[in-house]
């Protein structure tokens, strides 16, 4: 009980309490009678006043009062003075209830209800708010009520902004004031109101918030405001295309399922049983409206009119950063085709915040269609043998050239200056957690804004060191800094062709598949996927990953090694359902089945669809197992795996293995053993 000390109560106290209880009980039952019999006499109303004075949380009493007011208003002459008197009384009762408990939802709502009858003055309400905000400047009921009054009376946003100025200058440790400030400023900036240009206002706000952060580094009031300012500085509203596969100027080899003789080590070879390859568009923010009219494809590959574009992974919402279409090709018709893609050919691509993709972007790649020579082999895929060193002359790393995102942005200069100025300020802040964290974020921001290849990647050493420092300094949040460290590490690896190629290999046995080795790197998080769309084989073994969030964009992935990580469930692998190319999956030696709490259940599609489980053959034959292993069932039935490793997990065993074989009938290799009947 908030504010009530834990003491054994003495007999006198208990007696007094019992007496109070009896009195309250009697008051309540009398009130109930009045309420049910709809008695609205002065006496009855007075009773409810007494009740609410003792117990402002008795919500039925507030309802009763509203009915009483309506009853009285209906009976009197429409004389403004009489109406005033009645409503004034309500306001008085609310005020007295609030004194008892200024967090009472019922009391605040009753006041709003009275006000909506067109009563009271702005002056009165603001005076009341002044009183309560003095008592507790963080009372969110008061702040909400303030917003309500402001809207009702059309007080200007500039005036309200000044109010937050005053509150903050009085005491910077007021998160509620900073919050309000961000809401008001957001609105004023979006409207391009007089005197609210971002290139001037944002730097001013940085100065303003410094007082909060530098005076008391452990006080969180200014932290989130500063982060918001950083977001305003960094993020361009108009959506941009970050990367694509195939990328501009690249060449790819397309074939049917099977082996090619003398496959290339210079270009990516894509083999498909279905005779189609994915065209991937990766935007910098979630967009909708990607379709065959907004994205045009110009090529001689037949059968690709009216292409369907799908957002990955959210079928639910029709907006996503990642969009995929599948272009058809006929492998028995070998030829070389130039393919030209024009993104934003016509308007229609819109970000989830409502901004249009307005700079059409065109890219061209060449597709060499080859015929297959032999049937595909069903040999087991190894993660250690059969690899060739990456050819430095390989053309695949063109995809690293991320499109110059800030080209379109004209006020690039103030953004860069703001970041530089902040870096300088935070660079001299003594060793505080928020100092180091903000500096790391600022340096990441700077890296994101760098377009000059010569200078790219220069900050990462410092960023990684800062996160290492933070892991030691603030050990409660160790895992947060670990995740940020992993992200920065992957950004570093993918920041240049040179650093990335140190982790690349080719897998001979499968048409020189592009393999990326990122094992044994203590990675707890996946990042930079937009730069890795060309990867076909990914080794993430011996890391600290607990989810495959982010991998859904890697549409070319056919082999994935996640052994020796911290995957707790198949629901954590849900994003793999969208990687339709996946044939080989190793999740051995993880924690699947070990935990009772599922932290990724709701990141899959709505669990309400769980009741549709078990409507297919497997479900009908094994309803119990489908319920028990519902998440494994959902992931595995959507894939066409040939090879799966699950040993070394708590879930592994006879029952699960036989269940897997029913759900994935075409599986050839399970835990290194060739399955009969395949």
């Amino acid at each position: 009980m908030h504010g009530r000390p834990r003491n054994a109560s003495k007999p006198e106290e208990e007696a007094a309490s019992a007496a109070k209880a009896v009195q309250l009980r009697s008051l309540q039952s009398q009130f109930m009678t009045n309420h049910h019999d709809k008695i609205y006499t002065n006496e009855a109303i007075e009773l409810s006043t007494k009740l609410l004075e003792i117990n402002p949380e008795a919500y039925t009493a507030w309802n009763y009062r509203k009915l009483a007011v309506e009853d009285r208003l209906a009976r009197i002459e429409p004389d403004p003075n009489l109406v005033s008197a009645i409503l004034d009384e309500e306001l008085r009762v609310v005020e007295s209830a609030l004194r008892q408990n200024f967090k009472s939802y019922g009391a605040w709502h009753h006041r709003k209800w009275v006000l909506s009858k067109g009563h009271s003055s702005v002056g009165n309400e603001l005076r009341l708010l002044e009183k309560f905000q003095k008592l507790d400047s963080r009372n969110f009921h008061a702040w909400n009520y303030r917003r309500f009054v402001v809207e009702l009376t059309n007080r200007s946003e500039q005036d309200e902004l000044q109010y937050t100025d005053d509150m903050i200058n009085n005491n910077f440790s007021n998160y509620s004031a900073w919050h309000n400030r961000s809401v008001l400023l957001s609105s004023l900036l979006a409207q391009n109101a007089d005197g609210f240009m971002p290139n001037i206002k944002i730097p001013e706000e940085y100065d303003f918030v410094h007082s909060a952060i530098f005076t008391e580094p452990d006080d969180q009031s200014g932290w989130f405001y500063h982060l918001w300012l950083l977001d305003q500085t960094l993020n361009v509203e108009t959506p941009l295309l970050t990367s694509s596969w195939p990328s501009h100027g690249s060449s790819i080899i397309l074939s049917g399922a099977g082996c090619l003789s003398g496959s290339s080590s210079m270009f990516t070879t894509f083999c498909s049983e279905s005779g189609s390859f994915p065209l991937i568009l990766y935007f910098d923010q979630a967009v909708g409206g990607v379709s065959s009219s907004t994205v045009t494809i110009d090529s001689e590959l037949k059968g690709n009119e009216g292409l369907v574009w799908e957002p990955i992974p959210n079928k639910n919402s029709q907006v996503s950063c990642v969009w995929v279409a599948r272009l058809k090709y006929v492998s028995s018709d070998p030829c070389e085709y130039k393919v030209k893609i024009r993104v934003g050919n016509s308007p229609g691509i819109v970000s989830s915040r409502g901004y249009n993709f307005n700079a059409p972007y065109e890219f061209v790649f060449t597709a060499h269609v080859h015929d297959t020579v032999e049937d595909s082999q069903e040999g087991i895929v190894s993660w250690t043998d059969g690899f060739d060193i990456w050819d430095a002359k390989s053309k695949d790393l063109n995809s690293l050239v991320t499109l110059d995102r800030l080209n379109a942005e004209m006020d690039f200069k103030w953004r860069q200056e703001a970041i530089d100025s902040e870096v300088e300020c935070f660079g001299i802040l003594p060793d505080s957690k928020i100092g180091k964290l903000t500096l790391a974020r600022l340096l990441m921001a700077r890296e994101a804004m760098v377009s000059d290849d010569a200078v790219k990647g220069v900050h990462y050493e410092e960023i990684l060191q800062l996160y290492n420092d933070l892991m030691a300094l603030d050990s409660s949040h160790y895992q947060y800094y670990k995740d940020e460290h992993s992200k920065a590490f992957l950004h570093k690896v993918t920041s240049s062709s040179e650093s990335l190629s140190r982790h690349l290999l080719r897998y001979r046995d499968m048409n020189n598949l592009v393999c990326l080795r990122l094992n044994n790197l203590s990675l707890s998080r996946i990042a930079s996927v937009e730069k890795l769309l060309f990867v076909q084989m990914l080794d993430l073994s011996h890391n600290e990953l607990h989810s495959t969030e982010g991998l859904e964009a890697m549409q070319l992935l056919s082999c994935l090694n996640l052994s020796h990580n911290r995957i707790r469930s198949f629901s954590a692998l849900d994003s793999l359902r969208h990687v339709k190319q996946l044939k080989v999956l190793d999740v051995s030696h993880n924690h699947i089945g070990k935990h009772s709490v599922d932290t990724t259940r709701y990141l899959c599609s709505s669990p309400l669809s769980n009741s549709e489980l078990g409507q297919d053959d497997v479900g009908k034959q094994n309803p119990g197992l489908v319920t028990k292993y519902w998440d494994a069932y959902c992931v595995l039935r959507d894939l066409n795996l040939k090879q799966l490793d699950i040993a070394g997990n708590e879930i592994a065993g006879e029952e699960f293995s036989s269940f897997v074989l029913q759900v994935v009938p075409k599986l050839v290799w399970l835990d290194g053993q060739k399955k009969l009947g395949n």
Binding site: Y59, F224, S547, S596
Partner: protein, 315 residues
Amino acid sequence: MADKLVADKHVRYILMAEKKKESFESVVMDHLRMNGAYWGLTTLDLLDKLGSVSEDEVVSWVMTCQHESGGFAGNTGHDPHVIYTLSAVQILALFDKLSILDVQKVSSYIAGLQNEDGSFSGDMWGEVDTRFSYIAICCLSILKCLDKINVKKAVDYIVSCKILDGGFGCTPGAESHAGQIFCCVGALAITGNLHHVDKDLLGWWLCERQDYESGGLNGRPEKLPDVCYSWWVLSSLIMIDRVHWIEKGKLVKFILDCQDMDNGGISDNPKDAVDIFHTYFGVAGLSLLEYPGVKPIDPAYALPVHVINRILFTK
């Protein structure tokens, strides 16, 4: 300093509180007895002691609180409100007695409270708050009638309450508060819309609720840690898969320290008096932290996982 959960004492505390209807504390909270019952009974189920109460007595009392409009009141004679309607449905779900409900009636009451903009009022008097959006969605989902409301509009309204720090408030523009965040994230989770949440941004805001010294969680910046946030912050972190960003061991310790080791019950902090509300949130928090001897609880529905699976996996 406590080093274990005195489950038996908490069970006894709850059973006694249920009987002590005439103390001042009890009378003052008469109007929310339905919530109290839900907190107490769920805690008993988590500690595998639901059998200690008379199912028939509880269920018949719950039904006396149903109004002719279909909604449930906080106690017999009081007015209906969605808050108590959800608790009533949750209590029936615990006992696997949802079948006694006239589902049509209850769901119509709730669906009727959806406004034009997708938001929900708590009752006929029109208070709007994202808490009610969560309540409506959670309740209708348990009753399998989500199609009775405009889910898209409901989701759009919730998303409009998302703020610049990644959190959610009670109405558009309102400050982030862990309780509201739980409601909004829970509603989005149940309807399969968590892609609207910036998980990294919100995750950081949430993990910074942990107090370095005590290990407890507060509800918003610069406030004191309180056991009830062990539920609201923790369940939110779990739903967005960022719970590894707090130090779980320290939080377990904080919750255990808030127990009354002699009389049972858990309080908001080690010095204050215990109550049912915090006893529930403490035990639910321990469940999410996988404390041994406590059954797993679902972070979105706030009901034991076995109860939710029973509902979700049947047509």
